[in-house]
């Protein structure tokens, strides 16, 4: 049983790394800065969550586990705020997103 949980943890860590790489590929492939922010920020928080969960499953409860959870909480707090700051700064300095529907007005308010 314990071994099975350890294996699940290992799979989750690998999945986290895979997600990270996929996010990086997305950051390279996506057309504009806004879509790239999606790829980077969402896969970063996802990878952090999967990795935290995976490592917890592998090692169980310990002082290191508590610190790991704190790292995770900090990433979940700071990552969306940073992504928002970036998107807002890009928008505020006049970069307009590539939109699927060209008729949609790119709002100029704040």
């Amino acid at each position: 049983m314990a071994e099975a949980i350890g294996w699940i943890g290992a799979v989750l860590v690998i999945a986290a790394v895979g997600l990270s790489i996929a996010g990086a590929v997305g950051v390279l492939r996506f057309p504009d800065v806004y879509t790239r922010i999606h790829a980077a920020s969402i896969t970063d928080t996802g990878a952090a969550s999967l990795m935290t969960l995976g490592l917890l499953l592998m090692a169980g409860f310990s002082p290191a586990a508590i610190k790991l959870c704190i790292v995770w909480v900090f990433i979940m707090l700071t990552s969306p705020a940073a992504a928002h700051a970036l998107a807002g700064a890009a928008f505020g300095s006049g970069h307009r997103p590539v939109l699927a529907d060209p008729r949609q007005p790119s709002e100029d308010e704040a």
């Binding site: 879509t35 999606h38 508590i66 928002h84 709002e107």
Partner: protein, 159 residues
């Protein structure tokens, strides 16, 4: 100044979780450090609802659990977009109402949007949000309604 005890308890708990040293000397250091941190926070003029939202920890935690589910969906959605051809990418902007919310609730809502299915908050103000999303949805207000209600409930205690 009802926020000071909340912040005190939260910071002490954080210290003990980080430290793992329970001897009297270290606990004394913890108390001194927490008091110094709180004094610095007050000196910088930050003490208040946002610095110490810990009295809302239980509703926030409940909200966080719900949000986790949404985040899983968001990763699946974004992954599919990365793997499949870029034809699936249909970015658009949406303006949302956020009237009558506290700063904390607006920030929680905006950050939740950033964390979930292919959406990033570009601008956040007290009266509304501007959201960039990767996919066309039906009606934006409806799409975000559950999150808006839940985050408002978690941060402000009303729905």
């Amino acid at each position: 100044m009802i926020y000071v005890p909340g912040l005190f308890i939260a910071l002490i708990a954080l210290w003990l979780a980080l430290s793992g040293h329970g001897e009297a000397f270290m606990v004394g250091l913890a108390v001194v450090s927490v008091i110094l941190s709180i004094l610095l926070t007050m000196c910088l003029g930050l003490m208040g609802r946002e610095a110490s939202p810990y009295h809302r920890l239980v509703p926030m935690a409940r909200y966080a659990v719900w949000l986790m589910g949404e985040i899983v969906k968001s990763n699946v959605a974004v992954l599919r977009t990365i793997i499949e051809p870029s034809a699936r990418l249909r970015p658009r902007l949406a303006a949302l109402d956020a009237d009558g919310r506290s700063e904390l609730a607006t920030a929680l809502f905006a950050n939740s949007i950033t964390l979930t299915p292919g959406t990033v908050t570009i601008e956040a103000a007290r009266d509304g949000l501007l959201v960039h999303s990767l996919h066309d949805g039906a009606d934006e207000q409806d799409e975000f309604a559950p999150m808006a209600a839940r985050s408002l409930m978690a941060a402000d205690g009303r729905g």
